[in-house]
Subunit: 210 residues, 2 copies
DNA sequence: GCCATTCCTAAACAGTTGTTTAGTTCAAGA
DNA sequence: TCTTGAACTAAACAACTGTTTAGGAATGGC
């Protein structure tokens, strides 16, 4: 047996939670898929919530931790380079092969949590998502100067939306024949596209303000 | 009694399905909230799936039908005006006060379906979502000329992402202190912002291609 | 050999869930 | 007045669900 029972449980649970959601997935589903008894799940993970929490930490937490913010943003960078890097960070974390993109189930699980967060997601949100958002907003504020709250929100979502949409709308896009590639080269190229696209948009704002 | 029992069921079900999801919402939850008996739900809607389907059709189908594509796109419009109009369409449908934005529960329900579609969503997808995507892709193709599939996908998601993100990431944004306004004026202003932002980005692509 | 620990299972338990059945109330039409 | 049909309820049903209990291999240390 190349995989331990615990690993088989985790694998099966990840796929089922991602496909059907937490509530619709039963422990017996997971057991049938991984070939273990019902009690073993409780032995290894205490209960259904514990299994889900462990999965979030492992599949999402670890993937994000491999791409920490300081690996992209270094002191002394100008606003343009910082913008480029925060976009690369988002894309590598979300659809990059070392991020969530390696596994389609990871993407679906994360998309569920972003649109309908569960209590188990809270620690991950505070640890990884919130800092990303705040950093992005700060970079954009550097770029466009002082703005009213509503305008800042519009600009921030213009940039962040480009990064997150191919990730959130995975299912819808696939049904329309549009697919996202997850190779390193494709991700870098996508990041560069979003950077260039956003840069023009941001410069346009400066012009119309002046 | 100002509302019929059937209406109270629908109202309670909408809020609960939006908050907790289809599976996590029980018929008894809905009954407790609307003050009716369990059997009455089956009397009016046949079963739980029927109730959900009826709700999707009513809350999302009707809102979308109020903003049909031909009301925005007319023959003879140039590519720039068509781009502006398709953006207005998306925003009015999704966050406008006559669209889903009128009711926070509608937004949450739709966001759930976009990231994790249920079988009940399929007819709405084919009727409303697919035509929107195809129209958007067509407009962008007019704009940027022939492109390889991957590049077209990147450009389309750059525009669509800006429109959909404030909608999909409702929860996450709210937790970070960013709120989306749903008044007509705010929505129109947001649409104009996305149009200008995208226009610059698209012109940039033309330049770098030349 | 014996013991302790880890990994694992079958079976039972108690509560929940969607659905159905049988029957009640009540207003409108003949 | 009688009847018909729509709106509604209480109670029961059968299946499912998360969790626990009691115990069986198997392994490694002493």
């Amino acid at each position: 047996m190349t995989q331990t029972a615990k690993q088989r449980i985790e694998r099966a649970a990840l796929q089922l939670f991602a496909d059907k959601g937490f509530r619709a997935t039963t422990i017996r589903d997971i057991c049938a898929k991984s070939g273990v008894s019902v009690a073993l799940v409780h032995y290894h993970f205490k209960n259904k919530n514990g299994l889900y929490q462990a999965l979030l930490d492992k599949e999402i937490g670890e993937a994000f931790a491999q791409h920490p913010i300081p690996a992209y943003l270094q002191p002394g960078m100008g606003p343009e380079e910082r913008l480029r890097q925060i976009i690369r960070l988002l894309l590598n974390r979300l659809i990059g092969p070392e991020g969530l993109g390696r596994d389609r189930a990871r993407v679906r699980l994360m998309a569920r949590e972003l649109t309908a967060p569960s209590p188990a997601f809270e620690p991950l949100f505070q640890r990884h998502i919130q800092p990303m958002i705040l950093t992005m907003v700060e970079i954009i504020r550097d770029f466009v100067g002082d703005q009213e709250q509503a305008e800042l929100m519009r600009i921030a979502t213009s940039v962040a939306g480009q990064c997150l949409y191919p990730f959130l709308a995975y299912e819808v896009m696939q049904r329309s024949g549009l697919t996202v590639a997850h190779t390193v080269e494709q991700v870098e190229r996508h990041a560069e596209h979003i950077y260039q696209f956003s840069l023009r948009g941001l410069y346009g704002l400066k012009e119309s303000n002046a």
